[in-house]
Amino acid sequence: MGRMLFSSQHNTANNDPFERALANRGQKFKENIFTLLVYCCAFTLPTLLVFAAYELTTKCMPTVSKFGISFLFNHDWNPVSGHFGALPFLYGTAMSSGLSLLIASFLGLGTALFLTEFSPRWIQKPLIILIQIISAIPSVVWGLWALFELIPWLQKYVVPFLKDHLGFLPFFQGNFYGVSMLSGSLVVAIMILPIMISVTIEMIKSVPSIYKEAVFALGSTHWESIRIGVLPFIKKGLLGVAILGLGRAIGEAMAVTMVIGNKPEISLSLLSPAYTLSSVLANEFAESTSELHISALYEIALLLGAITIVVNLLAQLFIHGLEPLDFTKLFGKENQKKNLS
């Protein structure tokens, strides 16, 4: 379609059948309408993003002018007296998404390696389908499952074990009441795993098998062939996958709100309740009445949006194997050639 359009604009030769068909004015009119429509479609989402950013920025001006940069470093959140600081939420978000990423990275890489290198053919397909189904389960279902199944299990078996063997660490201090940083991170880890596994599998598959075969030819074991012939080529991509998972983990609200305990306090212990940026939005937005409270929530939303966008951009850069700001490689062909040669 694009080819037809462009060629019709500098209309010189009439022997092309496409040109003759387009000589019809009505046809041209239709083409123009179509072009306009496509342009509109393409610009809808970017325009929305700009508007959303503008709206968030104007709405959060009252808190920005009142608290300034101290909003980020203050740990007092008191809607009644009108003192707002986002530090506990920033800490909670960083900690919970970092922990869930840690868990999900190991599980994800392990699963992907098994599915591409070790698994028998007949089990490969069903397993991949099952993993993709997991990503279709709504967040609130995971939250309920965690509340009624995961937490009792943690209380009964996991936490006593952790306390017995690792109780001296600062991460496992204090009483465990079920809802906690640990439960929240586990739920998020489960939720970000499917996408991480799928992307990792694609990346491993894209590594040409000649490398691995070459390593085999030198007399290596199966594991060595993976370590030398596969992993070094996807190092950067793995980082990208991790950042992609991180972006998802930061934004997750519903399931986390249900199990993290919603306590705006900074504590090293994973067993104590915490609070995240997205949970405070989910919790307090509907019932906030004072101007300043709403404004503070808008600023939290802006922070959350900015963090997720930056993280996702980073993920895009790493996954597509680009050096940051090297736009010459943006058009994949040269890139692929380079990989193959």
Binding site: D76, N78, P79, V179, N262, K263, A282, A286, E287, T289
Partner: protein, 380 residues
């Protein structure tokens, strides 16, 4: 036909019934829709009311979105809805102005119960000192002498008290923190009252269901839940000492008893917490429908007033079966009186013809039947 032509044809066919439905708007056949938004606590009852009322008066329809009291208030003040439902009253600063004069119409009452999880303790008495002490984090164990003293019949275990509170902003939290602010100076200074406050201790859980789930799973926990939810789910509830020294268990009757004998006849922002009445449960509160009487189109306001008058008379039969505490009849009479007054002012108030006309177009023909005294506008 190509695929796209088929698709366009199919979509076109689909829009025909939609356009036919829309045409009702222009020819005045569809009933006016009164838009409301606000608290989710009274939502089940309001839905029932709308359903029953439209059977009697099919000329109106309701659309109520339970988005939370705060959201409802904001939408009402920015004139995007006709009425709001709220579990907490609006302060004066927000409701006086040229374009806004908001009146509070109380509809039903609710209460907040203190639920707990202690094996073999079916009854628990708490007074002001112990309740505020627990939620301030000053009383940390169940066998604290202050609690044991109030409950000589119970065997209280040597367990830490785990406080569970609502993490989402809610009217339930407002009622509970308003009560705590009244009974404890320290609470009023440290936390205050509001739909979300800075909790001194404890774990936040989302919604009544979240708090209930947390209480069920954590041994030695205590938290507050909305009365109807606790009754429907059979939780052990603490009896609270009221202002005149009685220990009262939460129930519909003890909530209705909390209404004061005398009150302001114009402003119904009545607080029911810490009531001094005989047999009153102290942690109770009202829920209101808010009307913006200065800027709602008169015909819509008229329809709303008719609906509210019905709700406070015939509509009362649906209140108790749905686990809400009804208003006492003396208060209802006063509210009806105020509604009548607003209605008279509304229909007699002089406003320019153009404005009247626009209201007329907005609401449609049908309202003439349900609001006969407004027919005068049409003839002028």
């Amino acid at each position: 036909m190509s695929f796209f032509q088929k698709l366009t044809f199919f979509l076109g066919v689909l829009t025909i019934p939609y356009l036919l439905g829309m045409s009702g708007l222009f020819f005045g056949h569809s009933p006016p829709i009164l838009n409301g938004a606000g608290g989710s606590f009274p939502y089940p009852l309001y839905s029932k009311w709308y359903f029953e009322y439209t059977k009697i008066d099919p000329s109106v329809r309701f659309n109520y979105q339970p988005i939370g009291s705060g959201g409802g208030i904001h939408q009402l003040l920015s004139h995007t809805i006709d009425f709001a439902g709220s579990d907490s009253p609006i302060p004066d600063s927000l409701i006086t102005g040229s374009s806004r004069e908001v009146i509070h119409i109380p509809t039903v009452a609710g209460a907040v119960v203190i639920a707990y999880n202690l094996a073999n303790v079916p009854l628990l008495n708490l007074n002001k000192e112990t309740l505020s002490g627990i939620f301030l984090g000053e009383i940390t164990r169940w066998n604290d002498p202050r609690i044991v003293f109030l409950n000589p019949q119970a065997t209280l275990p040597d367990l830490p008290i785990v406080v569970i509170h609502r993490s989402d902003g809610s009217g339930t939290t407002y009622i509970f923190t308003e009560y705590l602010s009244k009974i404890s100076q320290r609470w009023a200074i440290l936390a205050g009252k509001g739909t979300s406050v800075r909790w001194q201790i404890g774990i936040g859980a989302k919604g009544n269901a979240g708090v209930a789930a947390a209480i069920k799973t954590i041994n030695g926990s205590i938290g507050y839940i909305e009365l109807a939810y606790a009754l429907q789910n059979g939780f052990p509830m603490a009896a609270i000492q009221n202002q005149i020294g009685q220990y009262v268990a939460p129930s519909m009757e003890s909530v209705t008893k909390a209404f004061p004998r005398s009150f302001d006849h114009k402003d119904f922002r009545i607080s029911l917490t810490d009531s001094a009445e005989e047999g009153a449960y102290p942690i109770a509160g009202l829920t209101w429908i808010l009307l913006n009487i200065n800027s709602t189109p008169p015909l819509r306001l008229e329809c709303l007033i008719k609906f509210l008058s019905w709700a406070l008379t015939d509509g009362q039969t649906y209140v108790l079966p749905m686990d809400y505490a009804p208003l006492p009849s003396s208060l209802r009479q006063n509210v009806l009186h105020l509604l009548e007054e607003v209605r008279r002012k509304n229909s007699l108030s002089a406003f320019p013809w153009s404005q009247r006309r626009s209201c007329w177009l907005l609401v449609g023909k049908e309202c003439k039947i349900s609001c006969p005294n407004l027919a005068i506008f049409k003839n002028k």
